[in-house]
């Protein structure tokens, strides 16, 4: 009777071990393509850089220097991604066209949009998701909670910020820039929703204390001095105090691992 | 001279066919004897061809001044083509024109100055009405007619009241007065044709050339126009060259007829000489008989 009782137990136990083992090995992806730079940075940060076999052309992460480029995240094709024979393709909302995930999955290659929306909570979650795929769950969780803590809203400064792409288009309500400003304790001076071009009178009425512009647009705008000569900028508090800066667009127009540092930078500008 | 003007090739012509030498000048009908060189256009060895076929071949042709000269012949005889060549206009791409076409103009210093005929039109000495005049302009009938005086006006000047009066009078002659303020785009085919003629008359040139000006006109207006042109020749010594389809009218109103067929000049001379039953039946490839009625000779 004891023999009969233990056999199914053994079988169940064996099955459990077997299942556990397969699921563990199913999670061990070794050939990963990072379609967008924000995800690529996460993969590197959790220590899985060696598993990356393809990256986005705009990626500047030094740990991925030797990794081949498989296209631009703004316009990526399945063929180029598949050329490096990945077993997992990761990306965020940055990847265009959004249908690439479905297409890759239909071609039997697992593709996951780890951050489909642009908000802090999603970014935190994406760190954990990436960690689970590369078998670095604990490291990822640590990273995520550190990031989350770093993004904690700072004390209200009451200062007005304008985050602009090119001196015209600004980050209005509901954008990443907007969230960064608020968490840095500031007020978004852009009275629009989304990324919209602000008229010059709108710039005048915004009365920003700080203006940040994407630095790759410097050639179009001219020098900083030239920009500050614009009448609407010259009379603004930012213009008068010289608080106009060129920053890399990645820092303030999307979330990234260094967003907590960006918060501190934004905050320190007005201290 | 034509060949100098554009990258045309020189093509030698074949020997000419039937051609009378000089037009018959019936001096009895003209009160003013012609003093100067009576030739308006002289065509020598003219050949107009496409890459595939020859359209017109004329070894020698002279067109007299101060006469109403009509070109007749079946469709495709080359009448329009020849007329256009006299103005040095290609009516299509891929046409080569060789030979010389000169015009004889009298100036104060030289009574018979020969120049390439294409210069005449550029000097504004020829008024032209083609088969397909354009009317897609936002102008009234009066404004359109007044375009004829534009060569005489500086760019900032408007037509003078004299011009307007003359235009109004001509419009009246051609029964267009009720339409004076209407847009030309709203006119019927016949009205447009009459308007084009008014425009040409407003240019007040010595030479007028019309390509089938009676196509859209009813018989009353046809007769009026041709009678009018005849009067212009007689009273104002103008030189008028017209392409006509209607044989009866051609016989009645022309001073000289040039019969063309298959790109060649078949005959040239006074109407009664050229427009014989045999000649016409041969050229038009159908039986044509002339009947004399009390209204004049009729061709059927």
């Amino acid at each position: 009777m004891t023999l009969l009782a233990t056999k199914p137990l053994y079988q169940a136990g064996a099955l459990a071990v077997l299942l556990g083992a397969t699921s563990l090995s199913a999670q061990a992806y070794d050939r990963i393509v990072a379609m967008s730079p924000d995800v690529a940075d996460i993969i590197v940060a959790v220590g899985a850089a060696n598993k990356v076999v393809g990256k986005d052309a705009f990626n500047s992460n030094p740990a991925l220097n030797n990794v081949p480029e498989v296209g631009m995240h703004r316009n990526i094709t399945a063929e180029s991604v598949l050329s490096v024979k990945p077993d997992l393709v990761l990306g965020s909302h940055m990847v265009q066209p959004a249908s690439i995930y479905q297409r890759l999955n239909s071609l039997k290659v697992k593709a996951v949009n780890v951050a489909p929306t642009e908000d802090a909570a999603t970014f935190t979650k994406s760190i954990k998701t990436v960690g689970s795929y590369v078998g670095q769950t604990s490291k990822a969780n640590q990273l995520a909670s550190r990031w989350q803590q770093g993004m904690a809203p700072m004390k209200n400064t009451g200062k007005r910020y304008l985050l602009s792409y090119d001196g015209r288009i600004v980050a209005g309500k509901g954008t990443v820039g907007d969230e960064l400003i608020r968490r840095a304790g500031g007020i978004n001076a852009a009275n629009v929703t989304g990324l919209k071009p602000l008229s010059r009178e709108g710039w005048l009425a915004a009365k920003p204390d700080v203006i940040i512009i994407a630095d790759h647009n410097k050639p179009v705008i001219g020098s900083l001095a030239k920009f500050r000569q614009r009448p609407e900028v010259a009379v603004s508090p930012a213009g008068k105090k010289g608080q106009v800066y060129f920053w890399p667009a990645d820092e303030f127009l999307r979330f990234g691992l260094d967003s907590p540092q960006v918060l501190k930078k934004l905050n320190s500008l007005v201290q | 001279m034509l060949s100098l003007f554009s990258p045309f090739s020189v093509v030698l012509t074949t020997p000419m066919t039937l051609l009378t030498d000089r037009p018959n000048q019936d001096l009895a009908t003209f009160p003013n004897p012609v003093k100067q060189d009576p030739t308006l256009f002289t065509l020598d060895q003219v050949c107009i061809a496409t890459a595939h076929k020859t359209l017109v071949e004329v070894s020698h042709l002279t067109i007299p001044k101060q006469r109403l000269v009509t070109f007749i012949g079946p469709n495709g005889a080359g009448k329009s083509t020849l007329l256009h060549a006299m103005l040095n206009q290609n009516i299509g791409v891929g046409l080569t024109v060789s030979g010389t076409i000169t015009a004889t103009m009298s100036t104060a210093t030289s009574p018979s100055l020969k120049t390439p005929s294409e210069q005449l039109i550029r000097q504004g000495k020829i008024a032209w009405v083609g088969q397909h005049e354009r009317f897609e302009l936002p102008l009234t009938v009066l404004e359109y007619a007044l375009l004829g005086v534009s060569p005489m006006l500086s760019w900032y000047k408007q037509p003078s009241p004299t011009h307007v009066k003359k235009a109004a009078a001509l419009l009246d002659d051609f029964e267009l007065t009720p339409l004076t303020g209407s847009r030309v785009q709203t006119l019927s085919g016949g009205e447009k044709q009459r308007l084009a003629i008014v425009r040409a008359l407003m240019q007040d040139t010595e030479i007028l050339m019309f390509d089938e000006p009676t196509n859209h006109l009813d018989i009353r207006h046809q007769r009026f126009l041709l009678g009018y042109l005849q009067q212009l020749v007689r009273e104002q010594q103008k030189s008028i060259v017209v392409v006509l389809h209607d044989l009866t009218h051609s016989y009645r109103y022309s001073d000289e007829v040039i019969l063309m067929n298959r790109g060649q000049i078949v005959a040239q001379g006074a109407p009664h000489e050229v427009m014989t039953n045999e000649q016409l039946s041969l050229v038009y490839e159908t039986d044509i008989q002339a009947y004399d009625t009390e209204g004049g000779r009729v061709f059927m």
Binding site: V192, G202 | W128, R134, L139, E143, R223
Partner: protein, 335 residues
């Protein structure tokens, strides 16, 4: 029955009152136009911040922002409309738009090339203008080389315009440089850049264009009668065509350098005036210039007021109006 034609000199009702009414009518029209323009400029200067305030008490800064925009709207509207009026006569096509003869294509190409070489600032609008003129001249040269003909000019303009646009797309697509992407922003037709480029260059270019173009009005009318007839009126067809295209490029190139590629207005305004008022081409060009300037001023003013503080590219608004206008014109032509 025979009609005896008489070269009559009887006076007609047309001539009696013609002279007097022409004079007063013209004077009255000019006065109305001038007064209307001043009123609208006044109103446009007051529009801003989502409300209207009298332009008299304007802050210096606000003045610095507004008057270039007003001036740009007037210049661009005028330049494109006069150019459109001339081109519609030249191509005998009511749908002809200044962008057809290669001006926008050339401007876009100029801008993109210049940005690719890292030039910025004044170089960008200068490149737009140069690109316009160079491509236009190129089209003219090819056209003459191929033997002339009015239809050929239109088709050549289409083809080369499209070719320029293709090259622009190619360069933008291949560019890793985000700067080039912002070129598309600049070229999408908006008055937002008003005030960044000194107006004087555009004004000089447009003046030159007008000086060449307006005296050609009557010859353009003659040109619309057909080549042979035009020649018989003493018009030098080839020369007139060349001058019109060059002048058009001067006007349109200047407009593009100020505000990017703005379509429809060059097509709509002259057509509207031709249909309603008609008349000789010189008068049409002058009134098109006036109406175009006022029209763009009003449209931009309304867009500024309604969308404040967002800056709506005026090209979008024009396209919304232009589309139905296009269709109306088409239907009208059929009927």
């Amino acid at each position: 029955m025979s009609l005896s034609p008489t070269l009559s000199t009887k006076s007609s009702p047309v001539t009696d009152t013609a002279k007097a009414s022409r004079y007063y009518g013209r004077l009255g029209k000019y006065l109305v136009a001038i007064v209307a323009s001043l009123v609208l400029i006044w109103l446009a200067l007051g529009v801003g911040f989502g409300e209207w305030s009298s332009p008299m008490g304007l802050d210096e800064t606000i003045w610095q922002l507004r008057y270039p925009r007003i001036a740009t709207a007037l210049l661009v509207g005028m330049g494109l409309s006069v150019s459109g009026a001339a081109l519609q006569a030249l191509f005998e096509n009511p749908l002809a738009d200044p962008s057809l003869i290669g001006t926008s294509g050339g401007a876009a190409l100029g801008v993109v090339l210049v940005l690719a070489f890292g030039i910025s600032g004044i170089g960008v609008p200068l490149a737009a203008f140069s690109g316009s003129v160079i491509v236009c001249l190129f089209i003219l040269a090819v056209h003459r080389f191929l033997g002339g003909g009015q239809m050929g000019l239109l088709i050549l303009g289409f083809v080369i315009s499209a070719f320029c646009a293709a090259i622009v797309s190619l360069i933008l697509f291949m560019s890793n440089d985000m700067v080039l992407r912002s070129a598309t922003n600049w070229l999408s037709g908006s008055m937002a850049e008003a005030g960044f480029v000194p107006l004087r260059y555009a004004v000089i270019s447009m003046l030159a264009g007008l000086i060449i173009l307006l005296p050609l009005g009557r010859q353009l009318d003659g040109l619309m009668l057909g080549e042979t007839t035009a020649m018989s009126l003493g018009i030098r067809v080839g020369l007139v065509r060349t001058l019109v295209v060059v002048a058009s490029a001067l006007l349109t190139g200047a407009a593009v350098s100020l505000a990017g590629v703005i379509g429809f207005i060059g097509m709509m305004i002259p057509n509207l005036l031709a249909i309603i008022f008609g008349g000789g081409r010189m008068r049409l060009m002058i009134w098109s210039g006036w109406l175009g300037a006022i029209f763009l001023l009003v449209i931009d003013g309304m867009a500024r007021h309604i969308a404040y503080p967002v800056d709506v590219p005026v090209g979008i608004v024009l396209a919304l109006i232009g589309g139905p206008f296009f269709i109306w014109l088409f239907i009208r032509g059929k009927m």
